[in-house]
């Protein structure tokens, strides 16, 4: 090889080395996470998803629990990343092996709160690819990911497997998504000659969402959600479940929402209508509306929120009850309640007086909530009051679920660590008279340590 050729080869190799070194340096390994410890003194909570007790002579007891969430994001560049998110839940002392009440994150006593810890508690929440398509300019999220409705999660907030594409054009943001949240198709038995393929007994959610920013203070949105539930369709050889989730076959939900800022006030109203088929003979026609808001007053803010879900106490004709996917995947965090609604700060124990079922088994519910929150240097505080009723009377002719008052005060130990104590008390309404006429009013005292990084 001549000197000139060697020179060229050297230059080429050097240039290649420099070129490959540059992209590698752009990779970001992002770790985030949280840890919460909670202790409860209460006569109402049972730990886990079991609903808040409304019973006579309810005993008071203390229990503690913890949750950690770890999120790792492998970011190749601004247009491509893999997001993974895991969860570890434990109750102090573990849980009883035969506890069938569904303590969050554990199964058959497999809880590292037991003596000598060592247990499998790692849960996978999300694993999805998030990338911007260079051809369409749209953002795609593919895999197991979190999704929330545009209605304060009264309909659905869940981690689900699916694909969603989002595209921004000037002031308009549009999303189109598909989620498969249930697939009960059984594996084909060797003797099965029906040739049942995969994906036969499934439940899917289609999402169409549009948002338009009229100006910097006002954004309006419109949505269409569609659920097609084929998990209950039966065939001679199927092992499809007899109680499907959700408990309807077809649902269309159309709605409008807005996010408006007026000076020191932010108001978010919303409304939606549902129609579809409960089954082959019964149709659905239901609706909901509500609003949340925040106004700066003095050193803090006044919060308010309210909603109405239509209900039905007549078992004949079309169903007028607002439909969700499952009670466990609904929320109304803007209420800032601890007992009437599942608390927004909850970890493993995340429940309410109605066991998170804001449809009240079809009666529908309505609630109004208000509170004040503020900070003073490292101290933060809030106090709230709320009232809930069913939309339709129960069999005993009663509607009032109850009234709650609560307050919380906390201290920021470090930027990332806060310690707080909260108390909540609910005055039960006559809704419980038929089932628990002498029920004690539920209460709880919560101590909490919260770290996020």
């Amino acid at each position: 090889m001549s000197f000139q050729k060697k020179l060229l080869a050297f230059a080429a190799v050097s240039a290649l080395s420099a070129a490959t070194a540059v992209p590698a340096m752009a990779l970001e390994n992002e770790f985030h996470g949280m840890f919460k410890f909670m202790g409860f003194q209460t006569n109402a909570l049972q730990g886990g998803d079991a609903k808040v007790l409304a019973s006579d002579d309810a005993h008071s007891g203390f229990f503690a629990e913890q949750r950690a969430r770890i999120m790792y994001t492998a970011k190749a560049n601004d247009n491509l990343k893999l997001v993974t998110h895991f969860e570890l839940d434990t109750r102090f002392g573990g849980i009883k092996v035969t506890d069938g009440k569904g303590y969050k994150g554990t199964y058959n006593g497999n809880d590292s709160g037991n003596l000598d810890a060592d247990a499998l508690t790692l849960e996978t929440k999300n694993v999805y690819l998030d990338f911007n398509c260079p051809i369409t300019g749209a953002n795609f999220k593919v895999g197991s990911q979190p999704w929330a409705d545009a209605y304060q999660s009264l309909f659905l907030l869940a981690d689900m497997t699916g694909v969603i594409a989002t595209k921004k054009v000037d002031n308009f943001t549009g999303s189109l998504g598909w989620f498969r949240f249930d697939d009960n198709t059984a594996a084909i038995a060797s003797t099965d000659t029906t040739n049942t393929g995969a994906g036969q007994y499934t439940a899917d959610l289609i999402v169409v969402d549009g948002k338009y920013a009229i100006n910097k203070d006002i954004t309006v949105g419109a949505t269409y959600y569609n659920i097609q539930n084929d998990t209950a369709l039966t065939a001679a050889t199927t092992t499809a479940p007899t109680v499907p989730v959700p408990n309807y076959e077809l649902l269309h939900m159309i709605g409008l929402n807005a996010d408006m800022k007026f000076g020191d006030a932010v108001v978010k109203p919303f409304a939606a209508y549902q129609f579809g088929e409960k089954n082959s003979t019964t149709d659905i026609s239901a609706y909901m509306f509500g609003a949340t808001g925040k106004v700066k007053v003095g050193p803090g803010s006044v919060n308010f929120a309210g909603y109405y879900l239509s209900g039905d106490n007549n078992n004949t004709g079309d169903v007028k009850s607002f439909q969700t996917v499952a009670a466990s995947t609904t929320y109304f965090n803007a209420s800032n309640m601890w007992l009437l609604q599942r608390p927004g700060q909850a970890i493993n124990t995340s429940t309410s007086l109605l066991g998170n079922d804001n449809t009240a088994k079809g009666l529908g519910t309505a609630g109004v909530f208000a509170g004040y929150e503020g900070t003073m240097d490292k101290v933060f505080y809030n106090a709230n009051v709320g009232y809930m009723t069913t939309s339709k009377k129960n069999a005993a002719g009663d509607k009032s679920i109850g009234t709650e008052i609560n307050a919380q005060v906390g201290y920021k130990v470090y930027d990332n660590l806060s310690a707080s104590v909260a108390g909540a008390y609910a005055f039960l309404g006559n809704y419980f008279d038929a089932t628990a006429p002498d029920a004690d009013n539920p209460y709880l005292v919560n101590v909490q340590l919260s770290y996020a990084f």
């Binding site: 979190p146 927004g344 700060q345 995340s350 996020a452």
Partner: protein, 91 residues
């Protein structure tokens, strides 16, 4: 001699260009927050990241173009959503 000089100059060019990528830019723009470039010692916790993004956004059009400001705002929103997801109650 001419060839030797060429090799030396070429090597110097390659070394200096690689070095520029390895160092945090001294310019006012935060290239790491803006475009995930020159991310040295990126161990910000989630609150610090939000504070830094907010600080950069407040520098406004004196430092960033409107497009870049929009990108920073998107990143702030994305980080806030991550925190919300981490603290989501229930399941």
């Amino acid at each position: 001699m001419k060839r030797v000089m060429l090799v030396l100059v070429g090597s110097l060019f390659l070394t200096s260009s690689t070095g520029a990528f390895a160092q945090q830019t001294q310019a006012e723009k935060n290239e790491c927050l803006l475009a995930s470039k020159n991310c040295k010692d990126q161990v910000d916790d989630i609150y610090k990241r939000m504070q830094r993004l907010d600080k950069e956004i407040k520098k406004g059009t004196k430092v960033y173009t409107p497009q870049e400001l929009k990108r920073l705002q998107e990143k702030l929103t994305e980080t806030q959503e991550t925190l919300r997801d981490l603290e989501k109650p229930g399941h």
